[in-house]
Symmetry: C2
Subunit: 252 residues, 2 copies
DNA sequence: CGGGCCATTGACATTCTTCAAAGTTAGTGG
DNA sequence: CCACTAACTTTGAAGAATGTCAATGGCCCG
């Protein structure tokens, strides 16, 4: 009980073993004893607020971060002040994996709404993982998952239709919320239309128009950041390129 | 000397320690002793030919592969017979990292030209890596690099201009050839225009037109698969969005 | 030598971006 | 608590970039 964290109002620190994200996060598949060891190296910082940075591109890499509550976006800033949004991260998702290679952050991470984050010093994690094979395995899995996830996005951006992209984006959010026991069909977007467009490679105006079009077609109800998916099946059809324009997907 | 591989004409097996790719591949940063241990688990298969598959999406995952010579493309097949090209892999590059998570291949890998490939059974690699911290570290770095690389491509596809995409593609190839001591300005494309277009999210015709346009503008010389880059600086300018249309990159 | 795939080119269609403007919302400071 | 500004969102109209269709020629491989 030595390394146990204190619980306070300002800063509710839930040990990994009690965290609702345990099945999504690093401890997955670990023995209780090993979870405890992991727990001891995890730092739980106080809440972050909209606009705060976890890190910026070029910062020295020290820790991985796990979203505990709220949401975070990662993005690659470009010289001219622009940026490319790389991802939106929900509770249970790891951030900073791309920084391991050069011990330097490859992108920036900014908090989209009031959020809680766990910090895992990588040196400690690496050391622990060489002592705990199941943790090493879980690390490999998580890194691999991230690669697979990025490839999924590549496939998404390869599809050209703007409708397909937005539909896929919404379904992705929906499924991720669902796994976290949030509603799969009723949620709030923590990112702006601008950020959605940037992420999907579309102009803001296109995103906005699509939302109203989807609404007109009864696919969803949108009121600013509040989204209600009304016909998830049909959204899935759109992703497949089945709906509309008589499925034209070749690219053999 | 027990596990040493035999050298034959049909199948030139170079031990890791003698491989020219040592600085790009897994052994990077390892002690000679550890390289030897790694060497013992690496399988070196006989040459593969154009069209051969290393694995297909859905195959059970056993091994990672490293391109030793030649080139390989990875792609995600879609139900309707189409596909999304995920990457082109040159000597020294690892393939299959996205399969670790579910022990099942997440994409397919097809050989583009006569190639040589090393196969690394993952179970052995994982076991060895938990005994050799520097190998574990190198594994983390490689996985992390792959994530960073995928993010770079996302950024690339976020740029909308077709010119920027093709220029970035050519520069990427050029730099990768360079690191392998091939010419950075004179090389052959092992992939078809179709595959390039698919990878970049462009129609074949657009790719073809861009090649001729680039040639007309003196940026390069193209003759079927043979490419000679004549003005790498200007290609880099195009990537930055500096050249042409008075740099219009906002997406703040 | 033949067939099929690959590449190129032209003409046309369409989607999406760009530009412009107005309405909304949220946050700030008085 | 209210006024005010800045940022965000929406909508319309026009234009541009890229995709689609179609046809031809060339190359590679069997």
């Amino acid at each position: 009980m030595s390394g146990r964290k204190i619980i306070s109002f300002e800063n509710i620190k839930v040990a990994c073993e009690n965290c609702s994200l345990v099945s999504l996060c690093l401890p997955m598949g670990l023995d209780p004893d090993d979870v405890e060891k992991l727990d001891e190296i995890v730092k739980r910082n106080r809440p972050l607020h909209r606009g705060d940075h976890l890190f910026r591109e070029g910062d020295k890499f020290h820790s991985l971060f796990v979203v505990k509550a709220g949401s975070v976006k990662t993005y690659a800033p470009s010289e001219d002040g622009g940026e490319q949004v790389l991802g939106f991260h929900l509770p249970g998702e790891l951030i900073g994996l791309d920084a391991i290679e050069n011990e330097e952050h490859h992108c920036s991470a900014k908090v989209l709404e009031t959020s809680a984050v766990c910090e895992i010093p990588f040196t400690n994690l690496e050391e622990l993982s060489s002592q705990v094979p199941s943790l090493q395995h879980q690390m490999y899995r998580l890194l691999s998952r991230e690669i697979g996830h990025d490839e999924d996005i590549l496939t998404l951006l390869g599809k050209r239709s703007a409708e397909e992209r937005l539909a896929a984006f919404l379904i992705s959010l929906s499924e991720r919320f669902k796994r976290r026991d949030f509603s799969a069909s009723d949620f709030y977007l923590s990112m702006s239309r601008h950020e959605i467009g940037n992420y999907l490679g579309l102009a803001v105006e296109t995103v906005s128009r699509l939302f109203t079009r989807f609404q007109d077609e009864g696919l969803l109800k949108v009121e600013r950041k509040h989204i209600q998916l009304l016909d998830i099946d049909r959204l899935n059809n759109i992703i497949q390129g089945e709906e509309r324009n008589g499925n034209k997907r070749q690219y053999t």
